[in-house]
Symmetry: C2
Subunit: 209 residues, 2 copies
């Protein structure tokens, strides 16, 4: 918020947040269109229609279709990073950190099915430095989760002989499929599933007693 903000607001013109809101609208529209049609089949015209602007106007907000896809990934990354920061800051035993991390993580997926689905389906549609960035981020999420699991193992909280690497793949496979099968109109609310999944992850680590 600088002096310009105050001036614009005083003049009663669109506040500078207008631009930010429109940016957010464009990213939200992109998530819906990429989810419905797939990135390859989505046209800039489809995106303009979804936002409700002329195609020419959309180019004020995006440089290219891929730049827009990358903003969808940037937003997912910001939100994933918030969950990581939350879990990292908890002062709790290692298994409880895992449980709370996965409860939030799965909750985000279920509250953002379209966004999460685009994230899982379309990362291969990115190219060059964008693809490298997204791959690097995915490795860093896996490293964080793997680190939490390893912390459990070192604390003696996991089943004897658990291989952190293999259990990581099992758990991520289970959790990452949640946006594929979960239906908002189904019998279970997102909170119930997120809590159940978090318990399952802990159970997977602790193993049969």
């Amino acid at each position: 918020m600088g002096p310009e903000t105050a001036t614009s607001a005083a003049r009663g013109v669109a506040p500078p947040t207008g631009r930010r809101n429109r940016d957010a609208d464009v990213v939200a529209a992109a998530i819906n269109v990429f989810w419905r049609k797939g990135y390859a089949d989505a046209s800039v015209q489809d995106l303009a229609d979804e936002v409700g602007v002329l195609k020419g106007s959309l180019y004020h907000y995006i440089e290219s279709k891929e730049a827009l896809l990358m903003r969808v990934f940037d937003l997912a990354h910001e939100q994933a990073q918030e969950t990581i920061d939350y879990a990292a800051a908890l002062d709790v035993p290692p298994l409880e950190r895992v449980r709370r991390y996965f409860e939030r993580h799965v909750r985000w997926y279920l509250d953002n099915i379209e966004h999460a689905s685009v994230f899982f389906r379309e990362w291969r549609s990115l190219t060059g430095p964008n693809l490298q960035t997204v791959k690097r981020r995915r490795r860093s999420y896996a490293r964080f989760i793997g680190g939490m699991i390893e912390e459990c193992r070192l604390a003696g909280a996991t089943a004897p002989g658990v291989d952190s690497r293999i259990v990581l793949v099992y758990v991520l496979s289970a959790v990452n499929a949640a946006p594929d099968w979960y239906r908002r109109e189904g019998p279970d609310d997102a909170g119930t599933i997120a809590a159940a999944y978090a318990d399952f992850v802990v159970g997977t680590l602790v193993g049969a007693a």
Copy 2:
């Protein structure tokens, strides 16, 4: 084995198993081609090339590309049914039945990555009665596994409050992704992964002690 068989063998011509072997070769070739190119992009010419016969000859063995895809599914079904029959016949406690079932089930996936991948990716390519048959079979696998889990719950062997329906989805998501990430040239042999996964499934059910 009828009289014709004996006669053919006596004459020294190709034994009747020749036809069956060729059928098996055609299904094996179909798995490879559908796995490499995807069903939609695979042509009958590609299939003929893979088998090593002229395209015209291939029509002795298949009626259509979809009929061939269905034979890929029929073979997977036979083998899935063998694992189910094996587990159903075991005289062991319910959790041990689950463990042994999943050890075989995952082992089949890892020993048949291409076949399992075609099974998961291409069932939507089937149409009409074929699609209905495959959907019915998938429901019956899920019912069998769900029944084993429910048997564990009723025996008091699962974590308190476990929802059999939700845990079934979690476990199947984890297990069904195995052919996607497993690499034969990787550090772990199929037997190690299958045993670890079977333990993870049991751990998921038993939960944190």
